[in-house]
Symmetry: C2
Subunit: 183 residues, 2 copies
């Protein structure tokens, strides 16, 4: 019956997103399969995490594609990007913290590609004169990750409404907390 690998992966993502220390047994139960079958699909926790990483990268790439980062104003592209990434934010937050554990090992090159694409968008915004130039694209990229993680966490905790997710992040990232003298 060829277990639905994608279903298992997404169940695991949903669970580990909430409880990053969940047991393989819990992951299996969450997916509605036995530990044995889970282990037949993913031969070990690290394999599972790597698969989740690949899933996260895939989702990010897809989100970036759909966001068309090269079209129109950079600020609008950022807004589209955040909106597209939102569904994957919790997974990203999990992988973000999990990455810190892969100390020695080289990180998946996929992240480098994604970092580059996002940084390129910020760089374009600067070149277009839309974004300020004293905040480096690398920092803006890092900050975006941080805000996505905070946002996902705050939503999960019920401290902000899910509907406000994109608005909160985009407005803070682009506009900041200070009032604008003029729009």
């Amino acid at each position: 019956m060829a277990v639905d690998r994608d279903h298992v992966l997404r169940s695991a993502a949903a669970l580990l997103t909430r409880k990053s220390t969940a047991t393989m047994d819990e992951v299996a139960k969450a997916a509605g399969i036995s530990r044995a079958t889970l282990h037949r699909q993913f031969a070990g926790r690290d394999v599972l995490v790597r698969a989740l990483e690949a899933l996260g990268i895939q989702e990010c790439e897809g989100a970036l594609d759909r966001a068309r980062p090269d079209d129109g104003r950079a600020s609008e592209a950022v807004r589209r990007m955040v909106r597209e990434i939102e569904p994957a934010a919790a997974l990203l937050a999990f992988l973000y913290s999990e990455n810190q554990l892969f100390e020695g090992e080289e990180q998946n090159e996929g992240w480098a590609r994604i970092d580059d694409r996002i940084a390129a968008l910020f760089r374009r915004g600067q070149a277009d004169g839309e974004f300020r130039i004293d905040l480096t694209p690398a920092w803006l990229t890092e900050a975006l990750y941080g805000l996505l993680a905070s946002g996902a966490w705050a939503v999960a905790e019920g401290r902000v409404a899910r509907n406000d997710f994109t608005h909160m992040i985009v407005e803070l990232l682009l506009g900041g907390a200070l009032r604008r003298e003029e729009s």
Copy 2:
């Protein structure tokens, strides 16, 4: 010779900040003591983490006190606050991620007090007409935590210069990425 408890605590903070899964044995070695002695000081990993939590709370409270959040313009107070919190940012990031594991248990009330004080500062900024009102104080507080964690991480990874830490965070948090039409 009464082991220097504070030294042990700070060594542990420095290590766990970099490698959150470090063993009690590694923590002991990092502090230059044996595992037995470490265990005499902190009877278990959770006790150690709780002690680190208390340390983090203490540092935050101190930073908030020194930042005088009720003095002058709210934006300046935020800047002082970030500057004061900076040395503890890595510890905060560790505790921030560690907190997610204390699922059921009630979180230390100290955090609630700190959250309140920070949120109050943002609220004052809004009341003074300095901050925009469509970003809730709760979200601004969460975002600040997220940016502190991202910033500490980015500095540790060498992606941003340590000297730029405060500037990067404050400017993004308050001003955002968009260029101001006028200062």
